[in-house]
Subunit: 417 residues, 2 copies
């Protein structure tokens, strides 16, 4: 490699990953606990570093909401520590052996769960991701190389320094975590070519960041993505249930990838259902953009354009598409969705099964809110992101997504004929 | 996309994949049987097309061994048909639901196994891969776009034509398989950027082909790789067993990725073990290249260079590395291996466990030949290749490697708090 700094980081991470892969669960948990303690113990230093980032952000005229995401407080640092402590309680997936079977020639063949090795994470503003990503990787025996945003560079540098200090104290390899201290584009691009040292790259952040990573990376990427999620109100839907679910999926939290952005409605139920749904959404001041048929039902609906069907608003806006039949609903959703989360509200058995089979998405629901697509809600106890790609991991990713398996084969002298 | 021809192929493949994903197991099996019949029924046409490829290859002075790989015969076509019939007997992985659990709020959440969608396969000379790859993808409900080598273009075009004719006859979508008819570099490069239409790209062939795919593809790649496989003879090894396993792993078949290329031997057993092993290898005229210590034991060993430790010979050549202890063996192997298949010959319980834990490879053996790394030997009944990467699939890939899962969530009105 031309960039000696990155090469050094890579080599150190690989060396640390070898040690981490052999570490037992107890020492890994000790490491997590100590890091949690150190973050609180040294919070004054973290807050001071964070202050520098905030001052610079304000100088540069950063939007208030973004400054808020960048800001650390004692409570937020405590939150980072609690997050690490929660990982201690989770089962360690490493070392599990599954599907151990015997072949006709008496070889025993099974799959052993092992770390991926070195994980690269590219992220943007929020400095709490630094501790979070370290924790998930450490629990699963992976070394991690972090590339944060330039806005949070002082905070991230300090947090990583404290994590490494804590690791040194417990005797764990300090290179279990490293931060790329240069945040320019060239370094980031070169980081994405480090196949020799990095086993997987996970971008966390805006659609632009994810796109740039997917397009430039030579390292395998786990794509975490945007969510243009639909709720389809089928002909046989329970209208009250549909209204409650749409209210929840659209308004319980705005700006998240599993929020509902589009309502698809069967034309045989639209006269009865849509007014009820519009009433509920209007209570939350949701702007409703519909097709011609939808507009004809309610004066509260403004005309949608073609662009609306493909838009993830992340705002108090929803689109409404009328469909003449079940097949058209499937086609519309598969055409415009981002393969994230889709829900049908129905009492028709056959349609529920067809929806589950035919909708192409990471999470497909019957009679429930799309907002449940989340590692914690799914019972994983942790989440590194939500994958919208099909390879390796799909949907919410818990600890297991940071592992792979290797075949282990136990013989007593077998040779192949 | 600029290339309208490829865009059309991509769109048709996606449309076919939607239909395939809904097809039941019986119609898929009918399709496979009919294709098998048609390949035999139209073998005269296939042989005629193959003749053109062979004539051109000879004109261009192709090596005899490569011409042989390119050549189809009635027997080989029969072999292609039998391969498809064997897929009929295998369990269809699509539709299986695993880990269906109930959450505290009574959502039922499980994972349903579904096709990947559209698979791209880039391969080189052997035209039988055409039918083989189609069969694996079709059984798993995937459409496949094939990009074969220019040497086999007439054979591949004809085989795909006949497969499509058979599919049409059974009512299956003909675009379940398509061949990219242009074999120039530009088209191949553009094919690798078709993320919108192709879900995964699998290169099958030389190290150069695989490297080019990994480096240029914007589509997620499953890397199938080379094998610099080691057998480590530990201090406590059964010497007769070691000699038999090394003989098998080195000589049972030359030129395959799971053959042994390097012998690593503990210096405490070298005096007794190496002469026995050398005797066995010399019967097969294997050239043995060793380090200083190895050369001092046997006059049949010639000096190895640094380059030897990293070389996959695919020939009657083996390297011998002496190590002073177990740790050095682990280090040497992890440094030079290609993460394929590694074996230890030992009677030491602790060392057997450490080898399984610490060697970074797709398949790790105790007291058995590395030659077993193979989808058929592992009991999968089929093989699309052997993955040496860690994401999605690692080691021999059977039908399941061509699938993904989606979460299905069954509710009765649940909303998120």
């Amino acid at each position: 490699m031309e960039n000696k700094y990155l090469e050094e980081l890579g080599k150190n991470a690989v060396a640390a990953s070898r040690i981490l892969s052999k570490m037992g669960t107890n020492p890994k948990n000790e490491g997590l606990k100590t890091v949690a303690e150190y973050l609180v113990k040294y919070q004054a230093e973290i807050l001071e570093a964070n202050r520098k980032d905030i001052d610079k952000a304000k100088e540069n005229g950063m939007k208030e909401s973004l400054v808020d995401r960048l800001t650390l407080t004692e409570d937020r640092i405590k939150g980072m520590a609690v997050g690490l402590e929660k990982l201690v309680a989770l089962d360690d997936p490493i070392g599990e052996v599954v599907n151990m079977k015997k072949t006709p020639n008496d070889l025993k063949i099974g799959r052993k769960r092992v770390p991926l090795g070195v994980v690269g994470i590219i992220y943007e503003a929020r400095p709490n991701v630094t501790a979070d990503a370290f924790g998930l990787c450490f629990k699963t025996g992976n070394a991690v190389i972090l590339k944060g945003g330039s806005d949070a560079i002082h905070s991230n540098t300090k947090i990583v320094e404290i994590i490494r200090k804590a690791l040194e104290h417990t005797g764990a390899p300090v290179d279990a975590v490293a931060l790329i201290e240069s945040t320019d584009r060239e370094t980031t691009k070169e980081f994405m070519t480090m196949r020799e040292y990095v086993d997987v790259l996970i971008p966390r952040g805006s659609a632009g960041l994810i796109k740039a990573t997917v397009e430039n990376s030579k390292i395998p990427v786990i794509e975490t993505g945007t969510g243009n999620c639909h709720v389809f109100v089928d002909e046989s839907a329970d209208i009250e249930m549909a209204a409650k679910i749409i209210e929840n999926a659209k308004t319980q939290r705005i700006g998240v990838c599993n929020a509902c952005e589009s309502l698809v409605i069967h034309e045989k139920i639209i006269d009865k259902a849509l007014p009820v749904i519009v009433d509920v959404l209007k209570k939350h001041n949701v702007e409703i953009r519909g097709d011609e048929k939808a507009c004809s039902i309610s004066g509260d609906i403004i005309p949608a354009t073609e662009e609306d069907w493909g838009t993830e608003y992340l705002d108090y806006i929803i689109s409404v598409k009328t469909v003449p039949d079940f097949d058209s609903a499937i086609q519309h959703i598969n055409r415009y969705n981002t393969k994230h989360s889709e829900s049908i509200i129905t009492n028709n058995y056959n349609n529920s099964q067809r929806f589950l089979d035919e909708i192409d998405a990471a999470a497909v629901y019957v009679n429930a809110s799309t907002r449940f697509t989340d590692g914690f809600e799914f019972g994983f106890g942790a989440e590194i992101g939500i994958s919208t790609q099909k390879l390796h991991a799909r949907g919410p990713m818990g600890l297991e997504a940071l592992t792979t398996t290797k075949f282990i084969i136990l013989g007593n002298g077998q040779i192949r004929n």
